[in-house]
Symmetry: C2
Subunit: 522 residues, 2 copies
């Protein structure tokens, strides 16, 4: 029934047990264990499933057995008559601080049936995760945060299963990849030490729990697996990303870059892994920019400016009238402004280069991408000098983190075969534009691979192959984590990266060439 290569965390087997006789009066339980022994080894049979075994005589000793992989042993979690139709589902979750993405998996076919994304309801306590950590510390804040996420889970599970005419009893396994703080919220574990020196999580490796222990509705013996983390700033979402990238299986050297407020980076191959995380600032995600917005309809996601005519083209999500700029649009824009000479290498706007699009807001210069006549809200969409300063700082931090990581192992960017770009808007970044501003290293574009939702993909992988649980621990244990906060070289290196693309142009030969072609000498 099951593909030989398929190793889902929950399986069904059909069994026809030998019928008892005076010469074979083994118990139902022994009969079942013996029948399962060859394929599953010594199984556990908890009380709930044991009680089902009393029906064996009426089922003529023919049954369907549901087995769940738990702490290195298979556990019999339910039994049914052999002719009953049984569904077994798993749900993988990318537990983000902004969005929570659910994947409904049919564990019999290993197919992803549905993917839905929901806003994280905790956002009412602050978009910034630090605000939520502060909220958790007040009164029953932590319990509220937990309850909000658990309610979202339960509601979404219900609607997903209802769509497939199934009940919550058919849901056996949940796998959750999230950053360290989000996972602490889910387990209602005090997060207060995550954000103060020396940045200690309560847990790195979560043991499997019964979903019901967290108030999450599943089959009575349904389990929840939560990805391990490497530290406060290196969460299970990134471990899930490594799993999804398969970089830990390859001989070639890869780099995984998770772009966000925190830049998280992993470098390595099947023999070693070095990781680092550091604050890149929220600018890249657009959140704090004057006209920044999330990747929703109306967000400008692509921008180009003709370096000669200075004509602006843009594309919005859903082709709606523009409302603001999202992450990928911001990177495009800064790249275009720089190559068109509208921004100096220092990050300073050059108002004289295109006076028609340059306006002053509160005494600061700003560049208008979409005039008020073009927008949904009748106000211009622009980027101002403060935004650019923040952006340059963020991209500089990102580049410096990458650089610190490669230096720590004594290699160069060109030695890295593939760069996997993950994160909320990782897949949407145009690597060429990110190179132009000196955020990503100057290597051939085809080395960049957008990973999509790597955390979600990793969470799915756990459901489809239980051996990934062990693999995640191996990955975690093989990671050498560079604590950026204790590395003096970060600040030294950052200085050079606070230019577009960098003070050391030998690091960005392709940009030097472009600038030369544009006859823009540095």
């Amino acid at each position: 029934m099951l593909d030989k290569k398929s190793n889902p965390v929950v399986k069904i087997v059909d069994l026809e047990l030998t019928v008892p006789s005076l010469n074979d009066n083994r118990s139902h339980e022994t009969r079942l264990r013996t029948a399962l022994n060859e394929e599953f080894g010594k199984v556990l049979i908890p009380l709930y499933a044991l009680k089902k075994l009393v029906h064996l005589p009426e089922w003529s000793y023919r049954l369907k057995v549901v087995l769940l992989y738990s702490n290195n042993v298979w556990e019999v979690v339910d039994c049914f008559p052999v002719d009953q139709d049984i569904n077994i589902y798993g749900i993988a979750i990318d537990l983000g601080s902004t969005s929570v993405v659910f994947y409904l998996i049919d564990l019999l076919t290993s197919k992803v049936l549905e993917t839905v994304s929901k806003p994280n309801p905790q956002i009412v306590h602050g978009e910034d995760i630090l605000d939520r950590i502060l909220f958790a510390g007040r009164g029953d804040g932590l319990e509220i945060l937990q309850k909000e996420i658990v309610e979202l889970f339960n509601k979404t599970f219900n609607s997903l299963l209802t769509k497939y005419n199934s009940s919550i009893e058919d849901l056996f396994y949940i796998s959750v990849a999230g950053n360290t703080t989000m996972c602490h919220f889910l387990f209602a574990l005090d997060p207060s030490h995550l954000c103060k020196e020396p940045y200690i999580p309560v847990v790195n490796t979560f043991d499997l729990v019964y979903a019901k222990e967290l108030g999450i509705n599943t089959h009575p013996l349904g389990r929840l697996y939560c990805f391990s983390n490497v530290g406060s700033y290196f969460g299970g979402d990134l471990l899930a990303g490594i799993l999804a990238s398969k970089m830990h299986l390859k001989e070639e050297i890869s780099m995984l870059i998770d772009v966000g407020t925190n830049a998280e980076v992993v470098l390595g191959n099947n023999e070693w892994l070095v990781a680092c995380a550091g604050a890149a600032g929220p600018a890249l995600e657009g959140g704090i920019l004057a006209c920044g917005m999330r990747a929703q309809p109306g967000a400008i996601e692509r921008v180009s400016i003709d370096p000669h005519t200075l004509k602006v083209s843009y594309k919005t999500i859903g082709n709606a009238l523009p409302k603001g700029l999202c992450g990928s649009g911001i990177i495009d824009l800064l790249s275009a402004l720089f190559l068109a000479g509208l921004v100096e290498p220092t990050g300073k706007l050059v108002p004289s280069r295109d006076p028609a699009r340059m306006i002053q807001i509160n005494g600061d210069w700003a560049y208008v991408v979409a005039h008020e006549t073009e927008t949904a809200h009748g106000k211009p969409v622009y980027i101002d000098q403060g935004d650019i300063k923040n952006l340059v700082r963020s991209k500089g931090a990102m580049y410096t983190i990458l650089n610190v990581v490669i230096q720590s192992v004594g290699i160069e960017f060109k030695d890295i075969d593939h760069y996997y770009v993950a994160g909320a808007f990782g897949s949407y970044i145009d690597p060429e534009k990110a190179i132009n501003i000196g955020m990503l290293p100057d290597v051939p574009k085809d080395r960049f691979v957008g990973l999509g939702n790597a955390a979600g993909e990793g969470a799915v992988q756990v459901l489809l192959d239980y051996s990934n649980i062990q693999r995640i621990e191996s990955i975690k244990d093989s990671i050498t984590y560079l604590e950026m906060n204790v590395r003096g070289d970060f600040m030294n290196q950052l200085t050079g990266a606070l230019f577009l693309p960098h003070t050391d142009m030998s690091r960005f030969p392709s940009i030097a060439k472009k600038l030369k072609e544009l006859k823009r000498d540095l």
Copy 2:
């Protein structure tokens, strides 16, 4: 702190963890696992204990950890500040159909603090276990039986712990040895197939359960271990008896005999074990005899009759006025009646031998042990012809079962080094008297060893040494079980054993000698 030889199922360790720093920002959980790894291997940390770890900073990283052995791994079940006084208790239970015996164990010192015996409350549904099985099949009978025993557990636990100024939270582990039916009642598992061909239990090997799953109050993560059984008629109580007898560890051949309504017999040594169980009838326990009673104050437990003067001497429990006869008294009495010529080898009373003590009741002869003037209730205590017939059948069945077992392995009774006699009144039987009536084989008296409450002792052993759990499975798996119901030789052999002591006197040379000395030719 702990004796090196001590391997209790629950342990406490005091730990002083390294204090976190920027160079060591492992989580609380990793810090704890690492500290425990050398002694306990890879431990599990369930949610309940994980939540306690958030206190590590306020405890200055010094803590007491309670570890419980569960399914071959150690599990952290609780944590406390290092200076808090913690008690950890276990309770071992001999779950008999008549009495339930509780042993409170201090798992820190491995000492048995208290032993209490309580009547099994299920007795209101029938003294005979078959009546209770029938009751279980009606309506919610099974749930009632379970509830009754669980309530007895909870009440007794409470009073035991209160006596030691402790709370139920200090109780971490329960171990239960009972016959197969009693254990099925405890787990509310349908017992209906236990008593009909082919006699199939639902369970042979119970996995460890959370006590709370059965409604039993303990520490939130407290576990209940229930002894495995070999079959419907060979319960965990007998496996516990084997464990207590240590016969499975010895080179010499031993026989374990559990005397009761069902005679249960194990023969073997450290290399092999053969077992058999069969109905001996309830007569030996006194239950169904006209003047039979349980071993309570007023029960005649010892009787002798001078074979020449026919003078009767007896001893009652508590030296109270006699009320009836208990098991050991009955065996003594039958032996004395036989040697004094008051009962023929066929089991027939000889009224003419002592007319003063012979009375007729409903047309049947009876022998008066205590006249109405001597008794507590003003009625005579006697044994009648029907009683004797039942007794002879019971003792004959017992002897035949022993004989079938030794024949199955081709040895003789004299080849057996020790006979361990267990069961409700096993320790009280005078082996000499039991040999006189042909119930036990005619071997030197010093080969008989009363085991006391072997089931309870075995249950205690599990708490004191977790490796016994694996050992019990090894014992169970090494047993060759002879199904008496499918052996034709039983009925053939029984015929000869329905005489006092046996038709074949060469089997009982010491009795032949005694009879000769008494000038009583057969």
